[in-house]
Amino acid sequence: MNEFLSAPYVLEYTYTRSTGPVIGRFLESLRYGVLEGVKTADGRVLCPPVEYDESGEATSGEFVSLRPAGTVKSWTWVAEPKATHPLDRPFAFALIQIDGADNAMLHIVDAGDRKHMKTGMRVRLQWAEERAGTIHDIGCFQPVLPYLPGPVHLQYQVTPGKHYSAYLRGLQEGKLIGGRDPESGKVYVPPRAADPVTGNPTDEYVEVGQVGVLTTFAIIRIPFEGQKLKPPYCFGAIVVDGADMPIYHLISGVPYDQIRMGMRVKAKWKPKEEWGPSLENILYFEPTGEPDAPFESYKEHL
């Protein structure tokens, strides 16, 4: 048995609050989705309206319609709302100066996260779904973002074209396909609609080697959106045997700080059953272990 006697007690009562001509009008207007302020004798506008201003002067009784938006003058973030709070998720209490008013109104801002709150921020009034002529008719204020979402969703088809298709089909069969220019004899990987130097289509398709020289490279150490690999990794230009220009791919199978210009590398393919019409069939290029190519032999490709 407890030494001290104790019992729960609830003080609960619903008062009848007389609103008077000013507050009454303000709240009744809220019911219709109209936000009003009252003019003071010296011409200021107060919202919420009161019968007397802070110096005791009677307000004029003249109401003005206000835009349902304002500026946060001060605020506090309530991280763990209590049952008595108007929202059951974190929110801010804020003093909000309604546009066109000279004072500030206490209300809440439903901002989702404290980091969205800032003194001076713009907020808009969100009306409650059901209104009854109380201050709850203002459901809350919400941050006004100075931008709009602009969603774009368009469905396209992609057709890779004749020359690129030949290249992709080659990849599907485990081959690297280039196109030879009939005039210069240069081999482009992938084949081109027009050789950049002669203008001819590179229509003669030839299989090029899967071993080549790493001419130059970057070590990627930065994470960025859409990235599939964990940095650091290497991305390099490889002139495969039989081609006259580099292709770009990942370089792996060697510690990245041992990667050198001139290193001989070969294609490392995915398991055959995973092949599709894609350069991704090649996982990366890895060193062959052959001696490095001399600088003079590849410097024209830099």
């Binding site: 602009g150 396209y156 057709t159 609609a193 050789d195």
Partner: protein, 351 residues
């Protein structure tokens, strides 16, 4: 100002889907052909300019693919407009005024088969007030067509007559996509897509490419017997918001026509870039083109409409009739934007 002429024109046949070609594969044959016809290669070209939009394939830098259809070594003088190829021709014409070079290659390409073009064109609209409402290109044009009906300047029968005439003219055009005999009655039986526009009152969507070679002064005369001289060329814009324009008339075309000198002499033919039938009526009125002028002998955009190319093709079609001697004075017109916001007018003449 220097005398500049169109000396050659090439186009690929317009088709609904050109499955086997990418952009560079459209550009390479058409530019080669335009140059070959006047015995030139890329090395002889002083300036190269193209027109295209990234939103047809839905990829940024689609014009880089265009350069991939060219020989570009030694490095070429080259520019690109994100507009119809006719505006690329305008830039090339301006470039030739500089006086240091005498030839220019202009080209454009458009593959409408890759994306939902009417919806894509909504991205031309005001991003704050209109884009979110999804105003597709056909509905936008339909607002204009209805305004024209309401103004009493045209009837739905007039619209249908335009379509019938263009598709009939296209029978002789091997590069047209939609052609043949149709009747006003049959068109008026068609259901509305967006009223009052019916399928036959709208242009088809095409994959295509076109190229033109320009040359200045004596160089033009060396390259071809009868150059199509650009006697005047001007383009004008209107305000963007549909609610701030009189959609029933084309004030920008009217100004451009006046600056280009359309009324300085009789016109034999006019190639008008009207993707919707009613727009031809608005353009004829703005250009002062009467019944004596043969409008769209090629069938116009109603017979083939490869976006970004259809305007340049109007220049090519008009010029080819001057080059061949069938016409002496021709109007070439191109448009850009929703409901004819932006219009380019040129007058082409034989010697």
């Amino acid at each position: 100002m220097r005398d500049v002429a169109i000396v050659s024109f090439a186009q690929l046949p317009n088709v609904r889907v050109s499955q086997e070609t990418d952009e560079a594969e459209l550009v390479q044959p058409v530019t080669s052909q335009a140059m070959r016809e006047v015995g030139l290669t890329q090395d002889d070209i002083g300036f190269t300019c193209s027109g295209s939009t990234d939103y047809l394939p839905g990829r940024p830098f689609s014009f880089v693919a265009a350069v991939d259809g060219l020989k570009a070594w030694p490095p070429i003088r080259e520019s690109h407009v994100e507009m119809d190829g006719a505006f690329a021709l305008y830039e090339a014409w301006v470039r030739l005024m500089h006086g240091d070079i005498d030839t220019a290659l202009v080209f454009s390409f458009g593959k409408c088969s890759l994306g939902p073009v009417p919806e894509v064109l909504n991205l031309q609209n005001d991003p704050y007030y209109v884009q979110p409402l999804g105003l597709d290109a056909i509905s936008a044009a339909a607002l204009q067509a209805q305004a024209l009906l309401d103004s009493g300047q045209a009837t739905e029968r007039d619209f249908a007559e335009v379509a019938v005439r263009n598709r009939k003219a296209a029978v002789d055009n091997p590069n047209a996509q939609v052609k043949g005999d149709s009747s006003v009655e049959a068109i008026l039986e068609e259901p509305y897509i967006s009223s009052p526009l019916r399928k036959s009152l709208c242009s088809p969507l095409s994959d295509g490419a076109a190229a033109i070679v320009l040359a200045a002064g004596d160089r033009a005369r060396e390259l071809t017997k009868r150059p199509a001289w650009i006697r005047g060329m001007d383009h004008r814009s209107e305000p963007h918001a549909l609610g701030q324009r009189d959609l029933t008339e084309s004030s920008s075309t009217r100004i451009a026509a006046s600056k280009a000198g359309v009324s300085n002499g009789p016109i034999d033919i006019a190639e008008l870039h009207a993707p919707f039938a009613h727009q031809e009526l608005i353009l004829r009125d703005a250009l002062g083109v009467d019944g004596g002028v043969q409008v769209n002998p090629s069938g116009g955009a109603l017979a083939a409409n490869s976006l970004m190319t259809a305007g340049l093709i109007r220049f090519g079609e008009a010029a080819s009739r001057v080059l061949a001697g069938g016409a002496n004075r021709a109007i070439a017109h191109a448009t850009n934007g929703v409901c004819l916001q932006h219009n380019l007018v040129a007058v082409l003449e034989g010697e």
